[in-house]
């Protein structure tokens, strides 16, 4: 469900399956382990099958934390479930805040 790949310049994480209240606690612990990593953090959401407010809240926490520490965070390959929720909650632009994210990363969101 949470896989981490440490590269030279970035941490690449992938979340598979659910991001809900039921596994939020576990996910948070895993996420917290990389939140302070100064390298670029990329979270691949391609295989997220279901996400609820608790899951979204975790991503927002990650975003807020990274932004506060001036570290980069990129969410990539949003699954349809994630996109749907992001749109419902008006979060697409929240995560692609140009102050924090670079343009290329933003574009990848769109693709």
């Amino acid at each position: 469900m949470f896989r981490l790949e440490q590269l030279k310049r970035k941490c690449r994480a992938r979340i598979d399956g659910e991001m809900t209240i039921y596994n939020a606690a576990t996910l948070k612990d895993r996420l917290a382990s990389v939140l302070d990593d100064p390298r670029q953090l990329e979270i691949n959401l391609a295989n997220v099958s279901e996400i609820d407010s608790a899951g979204v809240q975790l991503l927002m926490l990650a975003k807020k934390h990274r932004a506060g520490a001036q570290h980069a965070l990129a969410l990539t390959n949003h699954s349809p479930a994630v996109l749907d929720v992001f749109e419902t909650m008006g979060l697409v632009s929240y995560f692609s805040d140009p102050v924090v994210l670079t343009r290329t990363q933003g574009d990848r969101h769109g693709s």
Partner: protein, 729 residues
Amino acid sequence: MDLDPALRTYIAESRELLEEMEDILLRVDQEDDKQESLNAIFRAAHTIKGSAGLFGLDHIVAFTHGVESLLDKLREGAMPVTADLIALLLACRDHISDLVEPLESGMGGPGDGLMAKGEDLTTRLHALGVGARSALAERPGVPSVTCADDEVVERMAGQVSGDNWHISLRFGPQSLRDGMDPLSFLRYLTTLGEIVSVRTLDDGLPPAADMDPETCYLGFEIAFKSDADKQTIEAVFDFVREDSQIRILAPRSRIGDYIELIKALPEEDLRLGDILVSCGSLTRAELDDALRMQSDMRAQSMDRPLGNIVVEQRMTEQPVLDAAIEKQTQVREGQTRETQSVRVDAEKLDRLINLVGELVIAGAGTALNAQASGDTVMVESVSTLTRLVEEVRDSALRLRMVQIGATFNRFQRVVRDVSAELGKEIDLVITGAETDLDKTVVEKIGDPLMHLVRNSIDHGIESPEARLAQGKPATGVLRLNAYHDSGSIVIEVADDGAGLNRERILRKAIEKGLVQEEQHLEDQDVYNLIFEPGFSTADAVTNLSGRGVGMDVVKRNIAALRGTVELESHPGRGTSFRVRMPLTLAIIDGFLVGVETSSFVVPLDMVLECVELNAASRDLSADRDYLNLRGEVLPFIRLRTLFGAEGAPPRRENVVVVQYGGNKAGLVVDRLMGEFQTVIKPLGRIFNQVRGVGGSTILGNGEVALILDVPGLVRQASHLEPQGVAATA
């Protein structure tokens, strides 16, 4: 609290802003960089709206809101500025003006006709907003990060319709554990209407270490479009009501409600305000109002300046900074404008000028006494005093001086509208806009000028086809010019049209019995016939002019201001009207002359020279009233005769040569007494019929001196000759 003075200020301010809007709208399509102008128009509209809200003038708020939204869209470049749009905005400006004006007379709401007009305009505004929206709908693709742009458009559209609910939600910490997922509430909301815009707030999120993943920290600000009533919307949140904060504002809520909302919610005010803006529930402008009002309310309890808070909170989000910066700019602009001008009651100004007038008189008296005392020290200090008094007088008078440019600029609009209506192409060329004159004169000259301008557009300048047929450029030129000329201001209204039609005027005059058929008249005399009452040569009566209340009224109005109007016309080349007005109505530099024991004042700027009427020319001119001035025939008037002074003329008499409107005349007086500053005191109504006298003044020694009506005398002198002949015959 008595709101009346405040409301008056609002009306005055709105008028100024509306004028400014009009000026800018009229020149904006000629500008390369329209941004500045669009901002200025937007600010004007916004201020009018904002202040209207303070007075609870909801109809003005509602209408101006639509205008503001359109302007905002233009400002952000979402739509091009087209001629049609400018026309629409001008119409809207007029409508706002129509809404504001009745306030002065205390009539509250607008009439039905006005409302209908407003609705019509609002519909047109909406049409533009809706157009942009459907364009958005055609854009493909759901998941797009360029969605920031979409949001702008979406927000605009929401504003134009202006009927969104605003819902603020702060879910209780237990919500997630209780299975009350905020997401489901959002989804459920969409069954009741459309979520126009939603912002999910992360402000409640604690630092990562303290964050409990099963606790809900989320807040939402939602702009919601729905026909449902408040109870139905509230019912959505029944399950979470107990430990959540839920606030629902109805569409078109007042700014005050939003202030309460901002105060009540946990987030920092400025940040929250920005969220409201980005939801589209508030415009940035409204937010600024709200924040300003709020800070006014708290002024006593002294909060930290907003700027500090921004810095302390390290709010790096660009929009927040933008809002803050924009706000600061606005405050700065407001401050500079405040230091640039002070609004003073016209009455106070009049009183000041009156007092300065008295001071001038007293000063003149002191100067006379000092002179008589022969005390050189005294004379010297009095002369310093006199110089200062003169300066005070000049600057006091200048307080009332305004440039005529503002009046001229009003005609841009007239020319534009009227020429469009008549299908003519007309350029308005303004020169001498910086010429200044007394405010009271400006106020009164507007109407006659308007008539002349309309007249030129309507009758003077031909249709493009007719012009081309005559080998003239299709676009006609209307010139407005102003300059100072010997104590008066001259305003010219000139067109390059067809000129007056001598035959037609003559025919009409004969028809009306103004002249006899066999009478032979010079061209100029024929032209002057158009100043006769009830004279109109228009073939077709248009709604602009040609109703027969025309030039005679113009002439009468101008004459009432001690001014004159003359015209010059050349067939095929155009007509020009020249209006001559006194510069000010209060104080003049005078030239004091005496006849027997009486003193008279001649306005100094009309005096050309003084010559002695020596015995030879006196004998020559004994029974005729003109003399030879260096080979020129100079008609003159003997004040002695005119005012029926008794006693024999002294051995030596003097002639004061005066000029007015291109004519010269001499005034024969006994003594020349030198320059004298004069405060004009109007003569009572009873002296209305007295000719040759324009006013009175009080001399330093307390005597009264009459101010000669030089224009009248010059006219009389030039016409005296034939009359004199008739009298002796």
